[in-house]
Symmetry: C2
Subunit: 342 residues, 2 copies
């Protein structure tokens, strides 16, 4: 167990390093207001904290730097949550000033504001479209052999896909098909559409609509490979500001990772509520070994979730980011739970 004085010193070191990005020495700590003991004492405690694995040295005679374990301890035990100032709150509120209630618009704006306020990179996951339910299915023919299938969901999201029509497909065939699909699919969630189609609808369709199986199959697969949650970024190049990312290779790896949808999505595991912090190598991706990722979720309507991530150096201002994310999460949830239909 750490003594009170050790806690105080560890906190001071982490705070200082987060602020100045320089190894911190005993003298510098001793000059702080809240520290009452001499550099020599601090040096002794530092040596102990290093032995315990909370601190590291960059070389034999340098100041100390928090280790990952140090950050982890700091985050778990020393992070007395602090309010954010009213200017920040005002900025966040400004997202909702516009009358437009378009979900996408709000999320995009949130991503920008978050990156601005934190000076890190923000990633926002839009609602998980897969859990929307079909409100209406329609098909608009474009020419004799192509048409657009459109699904409107209960939340106002629109999915559309072009597909080929079988030869000699008549308007009445089309009408029958749309009717059957609407009868059977309204209320089904997008993730279940495929199953439902295969299990029930396909046979009904084949009975009532003359057309090659192939084409119906094409339609089925078209509805199946639906897009995942949309991803919005803010401040992609903010990390250029951080001294730890003055190395081109690191920046590049992270930027590349952010272009890869699957990688980005794996940042958001686990999807539980609350605020999650992953520090350095706690991230699975080794591109992120110098980064910390703070994630949280917000709700859209009853059972849908979006997610927020902030990516910064391990030397991230955890206190501030956590406070901001907390406000953000609640505000978004609030904004999205009124005015939703079913």
């Amino acid at each position: 167990m750490l003594t009170n004085r050790q806690l105080q010193i560890l906190q001071a070191i982490v705070d200082d390093f987060i602020m100045f990005a320089q190894p911190v020495g005993s003298r510098q700590i001793s000059k702080k207001q809240e520290i009452t003991f001499s550099p020599a004492t601090i040096r002794n405690e530092m040596a102990d904290l290093e032995e315990l694995g909370f601190l590291e040295k960059t070389h034999t005679s340098s100041g100390r730097v928090p280790s990952e374990k140090g950050y982890r301890f700091y985050v778990d035990h020393l992070l007395n949550p602090q309010g954010i100032n009213s200017r920040d709150i005002q900025q966040i509120q400004s997202i909702f000033n516009d009358r437009l209630v378009e979900v996408e618009h709000i999320i995009r704006k949130s991503a920008n504001i978050l990156s601005e306020l934190t000076s890190y990179t923000s990633i926002l996951l839009g609602p998980d479209v897969q859990r929307h339910r079909v409100k209406r299915f329609s098909i608009v023919p474009l020419s004799s052999d192509t048409a657009v299938a459109i699904i409107v969901t209960n939340n106002g999201h629109v999915e559309n896909r072009m597909f080929s029509l079988p030869p000699n497909f008549t308007a009445s065939d089309l009408e029958k098909m749309v009717n059957i699909l609407n009868e059977r699919l309204v209320g089904v969630s997008l993730e279940d559409i495929h199953k439902k189609l295969e299990a029930e609808v396909l046979t009904v369709l084949q009975q009532h609509v003359r057309s090659a199986d192939d084409y119906i199959h094409a339609l089925v697969t078209a509805t199946m490979h639906n897009s995942e949650s949309k991803i919005f970024y803010g401040g992609k190049t903010n990390m250029f500001n951080q001294p730890e990312f003055h190395d081109l290779n690191k920046v590049r790896m992270i930027l590349d990772l952010m272009e890869t949808t699957s990688q980005v999505q794996s940042l958001f595991q686990p999807n539980e509520s609350g605020i999650h912090i992953r520090i350095g190598s706690e991230n699975k991706q080794l591109e992120m070994e110098n980064c910390s990722v703070i994630t949280t979720t917000y709700s859209i309507g009853e059972d849908q979730q979006g997610a927020i991530a902030i990516i910064g150096p391990t030397r991230m201002d955890y206190k501030r980011v956590v406070a901001l994310l907390d406000v953000m999460r609640m505000d978004l949830t609030q904004a999205f739970t009124k005015n939703r239909s079913d």
Copy 2:
């Protein structure tokens, strides 16, 4: 006028510098197969070429580097177009292997392949949606006070926007509204919708559908602010490979520019056909003073255009990029002009 020998030397220098990114000296040139004269002669010619403004020195005793004027001359007079090899052609063809005819899918794939083949950054502008014409207009109500307006265009593109319904708006009101809108709007291009609505449709609507003007106006403005052409990127971080972009600030400026839609769109001026090359400061943006931008256009259907841009260092492999863009332009145009409806 340049002598034959000067042309030969200028070409050799530009080619060499494009290849190795190192100031090129007289000795190195003299060793080339096609060069038959001694380093001393070459030095004399180099001095002349420098006086004429085609070459520069990085310092008094360094080798020569092409100036912007040098590149411009090279591009205008020394760029004997060369075919690309069959492996490249195969790669480009692979874009069209998939059966899917989805425009967006093809363009996205093209962006990736282009950046891979050139090792520069590619930007593709999708078709200019504004010039599509309305095929069908529909409204799907979500709840008592919200609905989604959907426009399907002749090319299968789908625009959608949520909007608020007036209180006490009935299903029959809605039906009337949709009918009127379809009657009047089908065949109108998206860019003209707003005008058309204001000029003709609004008054008709007000006669037949009881509802506050406000709401119809909201719908009008919703249809108005339509998205511009979609932008697709390939190899955003490719420039990290180029030695001239080992400077964080330069990279950052360019990446930031690419996040700004208006800036990106201004890269594509002028919109004429053919292949356009802008070298260094010929670009209006000063973020691009170390870059060259090569642009071209491709057609989609009859009167629609998309555009392609490749961004690289001024020391770009112009020959290869021009050749690749030429093939790309023709292939895309070809792919998009069959199977389009009206």
